[in-house]
């Protein structure tokens, strides 16, 4: 579907994860026009990359894809992908947003999504979506349900061999596309830029011991466990062996005032339990140990989910886990304080280790947008108890993990709240204009 660029919208939503999609939908349903601006080549954010979701164990694709399709087909929503925010001028009610659109090297209006280019491309590069566990072509659609269904040429791995341009039936491939600078006028802004993981924590905390192939982060584990994952089952990255034991190390960077961040990342306890549950269901004999301080299962149905894992035989070791090295057969060595048993340090070796790295903002305003961040690095709220989605600036709203770590359901609720507040703001503008007239 072609991406149109209109100049004036009622609202611009920055970030196309579940928060941005839900906020866009809830605003569009109120009759407002919305531009949904996403940095990467597809909407869906982190949620579309998860395996199953706690506590329902719905497959993530199954509940994300329909939202993505609903966004794409809504007549009030215009999708803009590969777009990076460059600045916000103007004031509430009439912002001027500068956006730079990176070249896709494929003309979205012409492309019919036949994938001939992708099939014909001779180059293989590691797939970012699959965390490098699998390959993709130099011209590719990141995953089967990506939206828009238009491939993107990755200029770094492309050798300009010309194969794809020769195969494309519509002449959609344009090796000479340049970045485009767009100016968008919008009355309101919703920031839904989500999160990334604190990836430099392991090296900082554990030095060289952290650098080993069978120690993966939790998002990589989600990828390995996903129904459409690279190996279709869990295999060790180093040698393709089926692991017999997996250690989950929680709070890797969270709740660590010295080397990490102070805050709790809020979802890791639950996703570790989910990952362990999924593994236990397939491999009842697998040893699964979760190193944790507190187990935080506070949402609806979460405690019961935790009890189930306990009953299935998932071990919860009450101590911070420390990665101390790599065993001869590429296992991960974990040390903990045996506070429940005889006391003192204990070493254990696992075939694989999974790190619950801290969740930190994917984006900070840094002068690009007129909003403040709080001490925790996430966007600050003007009225945290009464209207938590109001940022420090009038006319600018926020939702999802951009406003602090949270799970999908809390994100969906918050996105609805942001859409309500933004809708009220827009309605106020209309009323003001009518009064003036």
């Amino acid at each position: 579907m072609p991406e149109k660029v209109q100049i004036q919208y009622d609202a611009l939503v920055l970030g196309g994860g579940i928060a941005g999609m839900q906020a866009a939908l809830d605003l569009a349903e109120q009759g407002y026009t919305v531009a949904l601006v996403e940095r990467t080549e597809t909407i869906g954010g982190n949620m579309i990359k998860l395996s199953k979701v706690f506590p329902t164990l719905d497959c993530a694709s199954c509940i994300t894809t329909p939202k993505m399709a609903a966004v794409a087909h809504h007549r009030n929503i215009t999708l803009m992908t590969l777009c990076e925010l460059r600045g916000v001028g103007g004031a509430a009610g009439d912002f001027e947003v500068k956006v730079r659109q990176q070249p896709r090297y494929v003309d979205t209006d012409r492309c019919i999504g036949c994938m001939k280019c992708e099939m014909g491309c001779p180059i293989l590069a590691p797939s970012r979506e699959q965390h490098g566990f699998a390959g993709r072509k130099a011209i590719y659609v990141p995953f089967a349900s990506a939206i828009p269904q238009v491939p993107r040429l990755d200029a770094e791995s492309c050798t300009l061999c010309g194969k794809c341009a020769g195969l494309c039936p519509t002449g959609a491939i344009d090796y000479f596309q340049k970045p485009r600078d767009l100016k968008i006028r919008t009355k309101a802004l919703v920031l839904a830029t989500g999160y990334k993981l604190l990836r430099d924590y392991p090296a900082r905390a554990w030095g060289e011991a952290a650098d080993q192939p069978n120690l993966v982060d939790a998002l990589q584990m989600e990828c390995l466990l996903a129904p459409a994952g690279p190996y279709k089952r869990l295999l060790r990255p180093s040698d393709g062996k089926e692991p017999e034991s997996v250690a989950f190390i929680q709070c890797a960077g969270s709740r660590d005032t010295q080397l990490g961040v102070r805050h709790c990342s809020r979802v890791c306890c639950m996703y570790n339990i989910k990952q362990a549950t999924l593994l236990k269901r397939e491999h009842p004999g697998m040893r699964l140990a979760i190193y944790c301080m507190d187990v935080r299962c506070f949402g609806k149905g979460y405690e019961q989910f935790y009890r189930n894992a306990l009953e299935m035989g998932v071990e919860f070791v009450r101590s911070k886990g420390v990665v101390t090295g790599r065993s001869d057969d590429d296992g991960v060595i974990v040390r903990h304080d045996d506070m429940e048993g005889s006391g003192g340090p204990r070493l254990d070796t696992f075939d694989m280790g999974v790190l619950s790295l801290a969740i930190v903002p994917a984006w900070t305003p840094d002068g690009l947008a007129p909003v403040r961040v709080a001490e925790d690095g996430f966007l600050a709220s003007r009225q945290p108890k009464l209207s938590s989605t109001l940022t420090s600036s009038e006319g600018v709203f926020m939702a999802g993990v951009a406003a602090g770590p949270k799970d999908i359901v809390d994100t969906v609720v918050e996105a609805g709240a942001a859409a309500s507040e933004a809708g009220i703001f827009l309605k106020g503008l209309q009323a003001g204009r009518q009064r003036a007239a």
């Binding site: 329902t56 269904q149 129904p227 102070r262 009450r318 108890k385 969906v412 507040e421």
Partner: protein
């Protein structure tokens, strides 16, 4: 058996669902078999039928004039039936020329091997057989009133009323007691910001009371409801205060001249005088927001010494007592006595485990975590340590669940302020007993993080962090026909992606009536519900599914069987025959099944269609002897 009228034919689309289906069902075989079924002209596969490329397959075939009926074999229809029907609409076809076959929940998740593929094939055969007999239907279009009703006047209800009114709707707020504010009115300062509860509540109330389109009814209860989204007919009764406690509070508020004023601490807002005599009113509303909140867990007599020793109190009681409290030599003073040492016990009445904990009077265990008690206990502990630095505090906990923004910071601050934390296991909870060694009580606990050593802590006060329970709203849920979950809280449509809607259209959930949550989360849910209700009602009309029962008045003998069969009380006798209001009908088919004269037809599940579907299952794949599905328990 009647054949479908001429026309292009049926398209069958089989989904892999990543590997969710294709790992256990041979989807190629299913598609091959489908292609050979009567009237099927195309059978295609896609890794994710619900994705855009998947939906495009269907749309291409429709636009090419290849098909005029669609069958998708994928996951549960509750997930994606609407997704696919919308694809039909986008391709210019009537959305009801569609039949769904569930080969995931009903096949690949519960069976594997040969049997799974066979079962998938027979379900597809059944859907195809039905598809041959279906016809175009029109959605039911009804006018929608730009009016919404909020039930409950806590922060959820107040916030919902404010947002709905700001979206341009007329709003009625129905509160059971004489006071607005709910539980927040009974608090002092709030975690994690330290904001003053009274001040916040006053701000919120001013936002609502300043709006001309909000009507507040206190001492009011919803007693009857009929109708449907856009047009609910509600009956509300108002009665003078019913309980002694309410009467006492009201008398006090009157005496201090605070009726119509703002928040009266620990009572709430009394917006107006309640009626002297019972009143009844009826009105039509477009949507109903449930915001009835929670009730606090009441510890059993003797549970941690509660009601046996006056020095054992709940957190809510402590907050009340601290409000007028004083300090003596740096000690917190409660009931005139300085507190040298105190213990806070977490998870009282929450996270209960079958076999370990005793069920409540209604036979229910509160297995869930109440989400707010860790934070509110720590907030109180920190406040005490800061204001009364000589009072020593022990927190006896199972897990510290300071999950949200600013929560962990409070936990760190509490530790830095020497609040002592001892973890206990649910099987060995702390025990409280009377003592006369200079302290009122003694608490024994096994330290789960130190060899389970037994500690004995002499204390002057024990504070119980009691959890949240569903509010007692059984009658209301019956009137509104809302469902509750196993935990007793109101049940949303989907706990991940549709948390503020319920199964019946036009009814929404806000705040702690759905699950435990703090004030920030409560008002966010209220706003989210308001956005949903606002966007439906501001258009002036709503469209409903046409899967409803219709009466053939010529065949109806007015025997009234359907009136008794319908669980929702929809059929009526009008002009000597049964009448079923389409917008009110749930489409359950109970009436159609029981009607002795076969005068009732359920659209899209007519007898003919259902039988054709069943026969296809029996005919298409006669199970061989001994050929059973392998049940895997997955």
């Amino acid at each position: 058996m009647s054949e479908r009228n001429q026309g292009p034919g049926i398209g069958v689309y089989v989904c892999h669902c990543g590997g969710n289906i294709s790992d256990h069902v041979d989807v190629d075989k299913v598609a091959e078999a489908a292609a050979r079924m009567p009237d099927v002209v195309t059978a295609r596969l896609n890794p994710f039928m619900c994705s855009d490329p998947g939906q495009d397959l269907i749309m291409e075939d429709i636009k090419a004039g290849l098909i005029d009926r669609v069958v998708v074999a994928s996951c549960s229809p509750s997930l994606h039936e609407t997704t696919f029907r919308n694809a039909l609409v986008r391709a210019g076809m009537n959305p009801y020329l569609y039949v769904h076959a569930n080969i995931r929940e009903q096949v690949s998740w519960v069976a594997e091997g040969e049997g799974a593929t066979k079962k998938a094939v027979s379900l597809v055969a059944s859907a195809v057989a039905k598809a041959r007999l279906i016809r175009s239907l029109d959605p039911i279009r009804v006018e929608a009133k730009d009016h919404a009703t909020v039930i409950g006047g806590g922060v959820a209800g107040l916030k919902a009323a404010r947002d709905l009114a700001m979206h341009g709707l007329q709003v009625v707020l129905v509160e059971k007691t004489p006071f607005l504010g709910g539980w927040v009115a009974r608090l002092d300062t709030l975690f994690p910001t330290g904001d003053d509860a009274v001040e916040l509540l006053n701000t919120l109330y001013r936002q609502v009371s300043g709006l001309h389109n909000v009507e507040i009814l206190t001492c009011a209860q919803l007693v009857a409801q009929e109708g449907y989204i856009g047009n609910f007919r509600l009956k509300v009764t108002r009665r003078p205060p019913q309980t002694d406690e309410e009467r006492k509070k009201l008398a006090w508020v009157r005496a201090s001249g605070q009726v119509g004023a703002g928040v009266v601490p620990f009572v709430g807002i009394c917006p107006a005088e309640p009626p002297d005599d019972p009143e009844e009113s009826e009105f039509t509303t477009g949507a109903v927001i449930m915001a009835t909140g929670f009730s606090a867990y009441e510890p059993r007599r003797g549970e941690y010494g509660y009601k046996e020793h006056p020095e054992v109190v709940t957190l809510a009681e402590l907050i009340r007592q601290m409000a007028g409290g004083t300090s003596r030599d740096g000690h917190l003073v409660i009931n005139g006595k300085p507190v040298k040492t105190m213990a806070m016990i977490h998870c009282v009445g929450s996270r209960q485990i079958p076999g370990l904990h005793e069920p409540g009077e209604d036979g229910r265990l509160n297995q869930y975590c109440s989400r707010t008690c860790c934070n509110s206990l720590l907030h109180a502990a920190l406040r005490i340590r800061r204001e009364h630095p000589e009072t020593v505090i022990f927190n006896l906990y199972r897990d510290i669940r300071t999950y949200g923004r600013g929560h962990e910071e409070a936990y760190i601050a509490a530790s830095e302020n020497q609040v002592r934390f001892i973890r206990f296991l649910p099987g060995t909870p702390p025990a409280v007993r009377r003592e006369d060694n200079g302290y009122a009580l003694s608490v024994t606990v096994r330290d789960a993080l130190f060899h389970e050593d037994e500690l004995e802590i002499p204390v002057d006060l024990v504070v119980l962090g009691t959890g949240m329970q569903p509010a007692p709203i059984k009658e209301l849920t019956e009137v509104m026909k809302c469902q509750t979950g196993r935990d007793g809280f109101l049940q949303e449509v989907h706990p991940k992606i549709r948390p503020v809607e319920v199964a019946s259209a036009g009814i929404f959930l806000a705040g702690t009536c759905q699950a435990p949550m703090d004030m920030t989360e409560t008002v966010a849910a209220a706003s989210a519900a308001s956005a949903k209700a606002g966007s439906i009602l501001s258009v002036g009309a709503v469209e409903l599914e046409p899967f409803v029962s219709r009466v053939d008045t010529l065949k109806c003998s007015a025997c009234c069987t359907c009136l008794r069969a319908c669980p929702y009380g929809v059929p009526k006798i009008v002009d000597g025959a049964a009448y079923i209001e389409p917008a009110s009908c749930y489409g359950c088919g109970a009436c159609a099944a029981e009607c002795p004269g076969k005068a009732i037809t359920l659209e899209h599940s007519t007898d003919e269609q259902v039988l054709a579907g069943q026969n296809a299952i029996i005919r298409f794949q006669p199970p061989a002897v001994g050929d059973r599905h392998e049940e895997t328990g997955r």
